[in-house]
Symmetry: C2
Subunit: 419 residues, 2 copies
């Protein structure tokens, strides 16, 4: 094997070359690859599971807990799910070549702003092997070549799935290196990739905070980052309190371990006495522990005191911070100070309050009268997503096909020159 | 004076606070500020020119040449031009709050993707004092607070213009610190600003390559970069050769010192013998020196040999590289290898050639049968521009109001929870 720097450079060079070919591939060809990949995953189900078993056998050595082992496991049902997800991506409209805007200039030039692929995506992930297929599918559908770098826990499963995607590329005539899986999980290799901004157009890390921080600080190319989700539900004085209780329970408990789960409940002082006992009953019924400010603790049977640090914490667990505020302005100021700008909800029946909240809160999704859990590509109708961005630059919130594209200006003239 | 790090931090904190207020300011208020600024610039014309004279008096000390001194000078006419530019920006549609997309989900949620300001823009520029006003106007119109850091050569002029913009902020009730001008031209201060990614959402450097490289490598926030313009004109075998000669002359000579001027002429071998003498006559008539590949030199009366390095050079001068290619594929490969992905033109009457070129060339503007000089915000109908981006991420090509915005998802529900 050549040295690691050269090895990494080869991946990047092959991806760049493939991306130049992919620009000329039409939607039908890309969909044919998606369909072939789905077929091959189903027809190779047993072989994939054999490779998956090798990872499962090592899971204890890697210290995976029961939940992580379950997420790693590829069953017949789950492989069918992966194949179905590919069929869903086929149904999405072709993103490359879409005209975003166009105008005819006074001199007769036709100027169109056309969606184009970003080029080469470097995707780093730690989680379940289905992400290998999802990410490759979204990148190829959007015309990008992708370099996949999965975690060591799923090494054999990822290899098996990648070899199928590669076979499908070959059978459908797409560039062989449009989808590459890095054959080493050496952390040093990631550092070398992050230097290659001539070949790689964007890096997307999906995993824990330390991974994202490392990538953001080392990368020489743009990074789509997905940091914490410190999401709020604010119960306004004009809220329907029954609705508010349902929304906070759903926002906190539906899937506590995900980024769009709520971490803090803000309650207007005018309704705190009535609402907090109602909310406590509903939340503790789901096993939630409350961390309350001094004022709110008076209306609660059981709570621990909330510290400054609690309001900055993404619990990802059945724990909720609670705070009373005296005005919507105080709620908005608290959110803009403590929120991670991910998802924040107001529950209110007052139009002015709703409009103020939606304008003043600077988060990727601002919601009136619905659960924070809706900030999701599928729920917003984007189709599959490659992640949820907490950036404001380029892509914000759920990242689907469009967020994997750039644009260029295509200009048609008939001899125009500038005078 | 407090120390430099604290001094810089204060600018950033005030800008962040101002940006939170600006989100709630409507278009009418922003236009009132633009109008007031224009009025005050005209009514303070003499005072501005007095300050401008202080810069002109020092121009020799700074080693400015005659052209640079001329660009620095603020006359009555030029101040009128600056005021008129503000009136033009008033006419542009309000960018904040514009709905980019919307959909009603099956569960009744109304999801709208709404344009919002980026937040705080740190704008570094070296050039003419009118840029102070233009940049502030574009940032405020798009709802962003801006920190302006001008060059030392225009220090007094910039101060005078900024004090007028500030007075207009006060008179129209906009946040006092929405537009700040850094009161030191210490290079070290820039380094401190580039660390403040909590307060500053984007940095835009406008100036020489070394400035942009420094900013890109030090910045901890996104940067909109404007690197070289190595632009090509490819004359296809199916070109109207008279049109091709007009286009290369305009692309090269209309303003040789700007980024969208052509630097390389590619000619299909089938038309080289007929076209090159025609082009030479037209170009040398404008004083252009040719650097030619060996094959093309045979059809030229006077040329120097072109080196590999020449094809990678942005001359910004009346010099043009010339190269013969044997196919459109060779032309596209040359462009994708040597172009700075800024602006590339094909001259052809063949539809297939035009379509292939427009798809395969990966540049911010790809043009058929028109001058490269058209890649410009004004010419494309974007209105004023804050720069031309050579990035593919977030903003590509001319950057106007839209490129100074992000978006958020605004979701209206009536009690929806996820099941």
């Amino acid at each position: 094997m050549v040295n690691l720097i050269e090895h990494v450079q080869q991946y990047a060079n092959r991806a760049k070359a493939a991306s130049r070919e992919l620009v000329l591939v039409n939607g039908e060809q890309k969909n044919a690859w998606l369909r072939k990949s789905a077929e091959l995953i189903l027809s190779n189900s047993k072989a994939i599971q054999t490779e998956n078993q090798k990872d499962l056998d090592k899971a204890d050595d890697y210290g995976l807990n029961a939940a992580a082992i379950d997420r790693l496991k590829l069953t017949d049902d789950r492989l069918e799910g992966i194949a179905n997800a590919l069929e869903q991506i086929i149904m999405l409209p072709e993103p490359v070549g879409e005209v975003i805007e166009s105008s005819v200039r006074p001199n007769g030039l036709l100027v169109t702003k056309v969606q184009v692929p970003l080029g080469v995506v470097f995707f780093i992930y730690e989680s379940r092997p289905n992400v290998t297929v999802d990410a490759a599918a979204l990148c190829i559908k959007s015309g990008n070549a992708v370099i996949l770098r999965g975690g060591k826990e799923a090494f054999h499963s990822n290899q098996a799935l990648h070899s199928i995607l590669k076979q499908a590329l070959k059978e459908t005539g797409l560039p062989e290196y449009a989808v590459q899986l890095v054959d080493t999980t050496d952390r040093e290799a990631v550092g070398h990739f992050l230097k290659l901004n001539e070949q790689i157009d964007v890096t997307i890390p999906r995993g824990g905070k330390s991974l994202i921080e490392r990538v953001a600080s080392e990368a020489t190319m743009p990074v789509i980052k997905h940091f914490d989700g410190i999401c709020h539900v604010y119960v306004d004085q004009a809220a329907d309190l029954k609705m508010a209780a349902d929304i906070i329970v759903n926002s906190k408990c539906h899937r506590p371990g995900v980024c769009n789960a709520a971490e803090t409940l803000l309650v207007h002082s005018a309704v705190a006495e009535e609402f907090l006992p109602l909310a406590e009953q509903a939340l503790t019924g789901q096993g939630v522990t409350l961390k309350a400010c001094e004022r709110s603790s008076k209306y609660l049977k059981n709570s621990d005191p909330a510290t400054e640090e609690d309001y900055r914490t993404e619990y990802l667990d059945l724990i909720l911070s609670v705070k009373i505020v005296d005005s919507i302005e105080e709620a908005v100021n608290h959110i803009n100070e403590y929120s991670s700008q991910h998802t924040d909800t107001i529950v209110t029946g007052n139009l002015k309050a709703s409009e103020y909240f939606l304008n003043a809160v600077d988060s990727s999704a601002v919601i009136v009268n619905a659960s924070t859990r809706f900030n999701d590509g599928g729920e917003f109708g984007l189709g599959a997503e490659i992640g949820i961005s907490t950036d404001k630059f380029h892509a914000r919130g759920p990242c689907g096909l469009k967020e994997l594209t750039s644009y260029k200006y295509v200009v048609h003239g008939n001899g125009q020159i500038r005078s």
